[in-house]
């Protein structure tokens, strides 16, 4: 092989190698997603948050996070009061209070359970493997209330005090968008998400449970 040919081969080789390396550093073409935003118009959002969520996204798997999620019991309240989780999530219920507590979900819940009564500083755990609403109660302090909503996918948001919400990273498609609120009946609207675009939704006329 002539010298010029060898140099040319090296250049081609180096170039190809560089391209391959660069190509491996470039992420795969990002999946195009859209944004759902809007407002839930009800005065109740000033008192308690509403949860807006995409009911179901087909064709994709959404494994539960490996990290645990916490619900604390302190000053005789569940904190957070409303916790959306992916199906399969494990939640730690920690007694951060100065008194004994209990956590249970009543019959009719998506996941009835009862952790029993436990003392200060103790943590008990439950995994939520069924979709739906799970009210949290304490049989020592009947006034305590909390909610876990078990969802199929991670496309959800909690409203702010004005009822505004924004859900990012939603794959393109047509979905049922739902609003859950502890005082109001659940409502649904169809929404179509397009890649690279935002779609705005307004929920009004919500009725008391």
């Amino acid at each position: 092989m002539k010298k010029n040919d060898r140099i040319g081969n090296w250049i081609i080789f180096l170039f190809t190698a560089a391209a391959l390396l660069a190509g491996s550093a470039i992420p795969a073409f990002p999946e195009a997603t859209g944004i759902i935003n809007g407002v839930v118009k009800t005065p109740w959002v000033k008192r308690y948050e509403a949860l807006v969520y995409v009911e179901r996204v087909e064709g994709k798997a959404f494994p539960a996070p490996k990290e645990k999620v916490f619900v604390s019991q302190k000053n005789l309240v569940f904190k957070p009061r409303l916790l959306p989780v992916l199906k399969g999530t494990t939640v730690d219920f920690t007694n951060d209070d100065t008194t004994i507590h209990n956590v249970f979900a009543p019959p009719g819940s998506a996941k009835p359970f009862n952790l029993g009564t436990y003392g200060v500083g103790v943590t008990k755990t439950e995994t939520f493997d069924a979709l739906g609403e799970v009210p949290l109660l304490c049989n020592v302090h009947a006034e305590m209330a909390g909610f876990i909503i078990v969802l199929q996918n991670p496309f959800y948001a909690l409203t702010d005090k004005a009822g505004n919400f924004e859900i990012k990273g939603v794959p393109p498609g047509t979905y049922k968008l739902k609003v859950w609120h502890e005082k109001l009946r659940e409502v649904t609207q169809n929404v179509t998400v397009e890649a690279g675009k935002s779609v705005s939704v307004e929920f009004t006329g919500l009725k008391n449970r």
């Binding site: 009543p106 009210p135 006034e143 006329g205 919500l206």
Partner: protein
């Protein structure tokens, strides 16, 4: 503009004396309470004169010592951190929203919890309903004790000039009130009221005289379950009240004593002895209608129970259930001007039957009334007839009244009432003229005169002169 009422309204350049329009339905401030009661016999004096005189004033005397039941409760002002005028248009008269609040078991329509500023004490989280019957049904109790105090004092001038003292100062009534809701489905009302003790006399049909001593202390209380069989019957349509039922609703529906702004009772309530006692009542309401039916304790001498039925129908204005009063988002609407305004027509009817005991006071009463509200004017009228079972004496009362909001704090009024009675010398006609003046939201003056154009039982003893004419200045306040 010169302030003609410096004692009532402090001069303030920021607050011109003009009709107010409210920014929101929920404001801040205190509350007011109004009750009225007769003061003719509050000193406990026996009326001198003939037995006819006793008969003529007997019903007045007995009922003069019966307290009104208040419909203005400052505890709600504290609960919602709102002014009296949210629910009252010159207390105790209720605004349309106030009426919806009362009927709804002392809960604001459209989401009471949203407006409560004094959080109740939870007796169990909502989800405990799912645990029942393995748990007590959840509810709540008021945070602060829902108690209010009301005082009513009178300066009374005897126009007729037949009393030993033509003028009299007195505390007409002092009362301790409590009311509120217990969770979503229960409501309560209690009142302990004290007025001057009084002694009355009655001439019986056998010419004997019965005396009645009123100690001056009265207790009223009831508990109400709301929305019975709600899924089958609908919301608000069937409620059960136990206790001293009827007092707030045993009347012509749109001219109830508890809701009047005058000092003077309605003549029909006094003459036809419409007063409540302990019993059971069913009531319900929709947007344009409401009803009450009740069975009450009799006088004890008969095993038969008194009973009553009342109903009212409304055209226009805010619904009895508060419908038409919330925004699309679910919050309370605010009237554009004049919280007292509720352009509407209300037509009501009442039937009330009492059974005779040994004293022979069986009575049938049937009547109807109407109230028309248009902007700042409210006019009402009614007719009711009653017949005594034993004596067969028939009494008919008709009346008409008008009230006008000159300013939010000033409401002049006039009422004419006419009683026709089968009894000899039983007829009466009178005017009640006056004005209600709010010095503060919870402090009210009434300047009022009562003038008889005919008062036969008195005229029979006084030679044609009605000595029951009077002028009264009343101070009502509550906190």
């Amino acid at each position: 503009m010169i302030n003609p009422f410096p004692l009532l309204i402090p001069d303030s350049p920021e607050r011109p004396l003009e009709k107010a329009s409210r920014e929101t339905a929920i404001g801040t401030g205190g509350d007011g309470l109004e009750r009225s009661g007769k003061s003719v016999w509050r000193e406990g004096e026996m009326r001198k004169g003939t037995l006819w005189g006793m008969i003529g004033v007997m019903s007045l005397l007995v009922l003069a010592t019966v307290s009104d039941k208040a419909e203005a409760i400052p505890a709600f002002a504290r609960k919602y951190k709102t002014a009296c005028i949210t629910c009252h248009a010159t207390f105790p008269r209720l605004t349309a929203l106030g009426e919806a609040f009362r009927l709804n078991g002392y809960r604001l329509p459209g989401g009471d919890e949203l407006y409560v500023k004094d959080p109740p004490v939870s007796m169990g989280a909502e989800a405990y309903k799912q645990v029942f019957p393995d748990a007590v049904w959840p509810s709540d109790i008021p945070g602060m004790p829902p108690l209010s105090i009301r005082i009513k004092t009178d300066y009374d001038y005897d126009v007729g000039g037949t009393r030993a003292s033509r003028t009299n100062f007195g505390i007409d009534e002092a009362a301790l009130l409590g009311a509120g809701s217990l969770g979503e489905n229960m409501a309560f009302f209690v009142e302990i009221a004290h007025h001057e003790p009084a002694l009355s006399a009655t001439l019986n049909s056998d010419n004997t005289i019965s005396t009645n001593f009123d100690s001056g202390t009265e207790f009223v209380g009831w508990l109400m379950w709301k929305d019975l069989f709600k899924k089958a019957l609908g919301e608000h349509h069937l409620n059960l009240r136990l206790g001293t039922t009827g007092k707030q609703d045993l009347a012509l529906p749109n001219t109830r004593g508890e809701s009047r702004i005058t000092v003077e009772h309605y003549l029909y309530e006094d003459e036809l002895e419409i007063e409540s006692s302990v019993g059971v009542e069913l009531n319900g309401f929709g947007s344009q209608w409401r009803y009450n039916v009740g069975v009450l304790n009799g006088d004890g001498a008969s095993s038969k129970k008194n009973h009553f039925a009342a109903a009212s129908f409304k055209i226009g204005g805010l619904g009895y259930d508060g419908s038409g009063g919330t925004t699309e988002e679910g919050g309370l609407k605010t009237p554009p001007t004049g919280y007292w305004r509720d352009d509407s027509i209300r037509i009501g009817a009442l039937y009330y039957k009492t059974y005779s005991g040994s004293e022979g006071f069986g009575f049938d009463r049937v009547g109807a009334d109407v109230r028309v509200n248009y902007k700042d004017l409210s006019v009402a009228g009614g007719f009711i007839t009653g017949k005594n079972d034993e004596t067969k004496e028939k009494k008919d009362v008709w009346f008409a009244e008008a009230e006008y909001f000159v300013f939010p704090w000033m409401q002049p009024y006039v009422r004419y009432e006419h009683l026709t009675s089968d009894a000899a010398n039983g007829d009466k006609s009178r005017f009640v003229v006056g004005a209600a003046l709010l010095a503060r939201a919870n402090v009210k003056f009434n300047l009022e005169g009562r003038f008889y154009t005919k008062n036969e039982p008195i005229e029979a003893t006084t030679g044609g002169k009605s000595n029951e004419d009077r002028i009264v200045v009343r101070l009502d306040y509550a906190f």
